[in-house]
Chain length 616, copies 2
């Protein structure tokens, strides 16, 4: 056998053992961007039916798409790319995955050490390429067809998947060095098999893996529970509180503990202010009586002037997204803030917490239910009841007001979307305005909806790609709601979607640029040339507001057809049909940013006011 | 003054001093992506006429655009983005800038330390975000309106520009922490001015900068020359050589030494094998007699069987790009390889060099000319003459052959492009096939052409964005040549171009996917299902070849009109008119990858053969 044949055989065996182990560890999908250096891994993934191999040209899109896949399934998704800047394109999705705690296995191909630092083509330093934004970095050893090295490799795959999953899921980077020839030159597959067979006699497990499809290495960690005493102390605090609330912020998944938490809250009559991304709000067709969906309005309605502010805030998930909630939370400095967080950084930007409980939420909730078993309702007599009534009234007022609007706007679009969603639908919501508008204006849908978003670092990048990734791994329809700026940022994803078997509706709220900046103090200053000069206004327009419309006049964008919805009725029709259709549907809602803003203010004020007038 | 007013005033003064210093250091352009956290820097850039502020939504595009600006001008370009994944999107351009040695000043806005690691929105660890791929990282101190800190900041700006420029240019990262309020709340500009005026009395230079627009800190380094003895030894080696050649690979710029090198080579009769990206090939309408433009063909023509192979190779710039040249170079193991490199890593992937001279090429060439002053022609008698004649004949044969072709193909498109370029044009050439085809098939244009490319890490990402950046900073027309896969990868740049004042023609060679992979050994194996099975063929199609055409049927892509050129005549017309038009023009050339490949082979073989037949 020539050195060439030998090396290509070794590459093939190496990739075979590694991919085999990924499959054994439960990795189901791998997103692959074209390139030569990664050939052994790509060929092997293509050979295995147990893993779905998806081709995506742009690595940045591929990264976000894999993130979406992992979000939809709760399992780490793999990525393969070639050497060089290709790998750098994955960085945005990696940073987001790290912050939101979603597992990615980033498999970069690299050139061997002898081609580093000598001006070789497409070679750059890929060691620790993603810095501290991965849970682990492994420089994979040079491929060798020895039992020792294959055992190492199989164990490494398991360690990689464990680092990407477990108590603190996130991205993991494995950098593979392959030497040429990368394709199985000179040997057909039977040659590889022959070498494998020979090695198999010496070391059957290293070559063939453990029996019955078991992974090489099973890795279990601490179970994430907390001491009984901690739970009992938490119970004591809850019982002692007069005005306890639970705040549920964004999480990747509230499975399986969300339902138990709501049951506990209902039994003990603790209001749960749940944001849209908490996994608690649209979990079933019949909402829990404990869920408060209008927290952002209630805090502005004067409710707490009357009732008194909470004295205990038990917090799950991320810090609030909605602006009123973000303003309100720091006003509760006198309350005890108890923050429950699993693996990721404590979610307490205002540094209010007196107590952080770092544990698996599921275990904590179960234990707490046991501890509270003999306790009755918590808190003051009317605390829970008033919350519940206020929430229903305000929600009803908003729905009533929005139903009457004849002009299409961002709030109306959200209202209609809530009414139009079919069963088993998922929503992927962009950062910026959509993630805020859903909070207030989304009509409670008739059936359960998964609401997903990139709320790790809250970027507006990769929104379409992540949403398509979600869509690819779900059975029901997926609706992506995105503003025009984020839509532009990830426009390449439309080209990707053309190739993939993805069914999704993209609802673009085109308010003509970065309308969210209109809510910043800068916008006011920019509007006051007498005090601040013309320049500030120009700067605001050019670099913040960036006013422009999507060029969708022609009815299509590249390969994708685009519908313009100009009235509430048209939007209703578009959403109804698009959820039934195959492929990617884009529906653009042109809105006037100023009118959106005025309507938002009016709806919120009227709802609060009406509540005050009719309050008991 | 309230704390709020004070902090916003400090932010404004801070940005003012920094941007002022950038301008004093010669930074002319800043690409800004929208975001709130960077407000003080953005507002200040907008206030200053001396720096052009360009708005680009997608940071990845902005990064490459700035790279293009820096390439076109030879001066570092600045980038401003907000906190979070926005900054991660700059990574691909940063890696390329680092490898190709082009100055970028990456100014990321960050949240202050108290919002790090506590779940604050849009906050992530941005310290050393780009690892070893920047020349320097500076965590900029918290803004303060004190003379000490302003002096530090002004000096820091100068150190940043120096690190991005100088002997080893590249990207530099400055991470700014701004605290709220970010807009100049409560104070109008006169308030800032009043604070500045007060401070000015104490420390006029810190506030106002040095007199006469001088930078705070002038930084000069080693002048990059080498000892006289080194030059004299180099002269001795050249004089001793019988068959010396100079190989000129890709450089960012051959100014000002390229012309001197060619003169020296012509005077002393040393052939210069110059690749398209060497800056030597299309430098003036009358090519230097020393320049050999057909090196890739000559090495396959048998020329050196007859003449003997080179015994000395003096190398400038990057290692060869063309495949024949890359195969040939390592065959010259017996030759002395002397590699001249300035700041960046030695360009010697085959590890052939016995001598690396790390210096400023300009100084070396000048000194060498002096040393060689009394020497006559170098090398064997007919060495230079045969090279020259062979080059002319082969070039003529190719042009002749291509002129006769009636069907449009990639080689023909290159030939026509060469004939169609107007004066003062620049070419930006994508990696993958275009950078290889230009080598052989580009007709020598009538006037000087700057040929630019991303040859640091040779990615296919950011090609349009970089090309548009080049176009933005040049007076004449710019033509970007790109394949369909790279075009897809950077499709968002078309949306960007709509907003910018950029005149450019994009010639897309659509060969229906990743045709370059057809040249890999894998393609042959994939074509042999009997030996390798059906799966390999499928994997090849799905993950490497990715066969598909650009969906340009509708005659536009988003905002940009697209012309399809189907015949040589149509392409000629399109190129002629598009170079006259304002804005971005896209011309798509649909080619058949197999026919392209056959024609490439045929032209090369015929040219070599004809040369052999007519050789003296």
């Amino acid at each position: 056998m020539s050195a060439e044949s030998w090396h290509s055989t070794v590459n093939a065996l190496w990739a075979q053992a590694f991919v085999d182990e990924l499959i054994r560890c439960g990795v189901e999908v791998v997103c692959i961007s074209p390139g030569s250096r990664s050939t052994p891994l790509v060929v092997e993934c293509g050979r295995r039916d147990e893993i779905e191999d998806i081709s995506i040209v742009d690595e940045r899109s591929a990264g976000f798409f894999a993130l979406g896949c992992a979000k939809a399934t709760g399992r780490a998704a793999a990525l393969i790319c070639t050497s060089g800047t290709a790998a750098a394109n994955l960085y945005p999705a990696i940073c987001e995955a790290s912050a939101c705690g979603v597992g990615l296995l980033v498999l970069t191909a690299d050139r061997p050490r002898q081609l580093q630092g000598v001006g070789a083509s497409q070679a750059m330093d890929q060691l620790k390429l993603y810095g501290d934004h991965v849970r682990a970095f492994y420089q994979v050893g040079q491929p060798e067809a020895t039992a020792d090295k294959l055992r190492y490799l199989r164990g490494l795959a398991c360690r990689g998947v464990a680092a990407a999953s477990g108590a603190k899921p996130g991205p993991v980077h494995l950098n593979f060095s392959f030497r040429k020839p990368l394709a199985p030159v000179d040997v057909d597959r039977s040659g590889v098999d022959a070498v494998a067979a020979k090695l198999f006699d010496e070391a059957p497990l290293a070559v063939g893996g453990r029996s019955e499809g078991a992974p090489w290495l099973r890795i279990d960690g601490a179970d994430g529970g907390v001491e009984k005493q901690v739970v009992s102390e938490l119970r004591d605090r809850l019982v002692a509180a007069k005005r306890p609330i639970i705040f549920a912020g964004a999480v990747e998944s509230a499975e399986p503990w969300g339902f138990s938490l709501l049951e506990m809250a209902a039994d003990h009559r603790v209001p749960v202010i749940a944001e849209s991304t908490s996994g608690l709000r649209y979990g079933s067709s019949e909402a829990s009586p404990a869920v408060i969906t209008t927290g952002d309005l209630l805090v502005e309605s004067g409710l707490y002037d009357e009732l008194g502010t909470p004295d205990l805030v038990l917090r799950f998930g991320r810090a609030p997204i909605s602006w009123p909630m973000r303003r309100w939370m720091p006003q509760l400095r006198q309350a005890e803030h108890i923050v429950v967080s699993a693996g990721r950084e404590p979610q307490d930007p205002d540094q209010l917490a007196c107590w952080q409980i770092r544990c698996d939420a599921s275990r904590l909730v179960d234990d707490l239910i046991d501890e509270l078993d003999e306790d009755g309702p918590l808190g003051d007599d009317n605390w829970f009841q008033v919350h519940r009534r206020a929430d229903q009234q305000v929600r009803g007022h908003i729905a009533g007001q929005l139903s009457e609007e004849a002009t299409l706007s961002a709030p109306i679009a959200w209202h209609i979307l809530g009414e139009s969603l079919v069963a088993e639908a998922a929503l992927f919501v962009s950062s910026s305005m959509p993630i805020r508008d859903i909070e207030t204006f989304f009509a409670s849908p008739a059936s359960a909806v998964d609401v997903l978003a990139n709320r790790g670092v809250n970027g507006i990048d990769g929104v379409l790609s992540t949403g398509f990734g979600v869509a690819a791994r779900r059975d029901g329809p997926t609706v992506i709601v995105v503003g025009d700026v984020a839509f532009r940022h990830d426009i390449g994803a439309l080209l990707m979607a053309e190739q993939l078997d993805v069914d999704a509706t993209v609802m673009v709220i085109d308010n003509g640029g970065g309308a969210i900046f209109d809510y910043l103090p800068l916008a006011e200053l920019a509007d006051d040339p007498e005090r601040f000069g013309e320049t500030l206004g120009e700067v605001y327009e050019r670099h913040f507001r960036t006013p422009r419309r999507l060029p969708v006049g022609g009815g299509r964008f590249g390969p994708v057809e685009v519908e313009l919805a100009e009235t509430p009725g048209q939007l209703r029709d578009s959403l109804a049909t698009s959820q039934q259709r195959r492929g990617v549907q884009v529906v653009v809602v042109d809105t006037d940013a100023d009118a959106d803003r005025a309507l938002r203010r009016r709806v919120v004020e009227t709802a609060s006011q009406q509540w005050r007038e009719h309050a008991p």
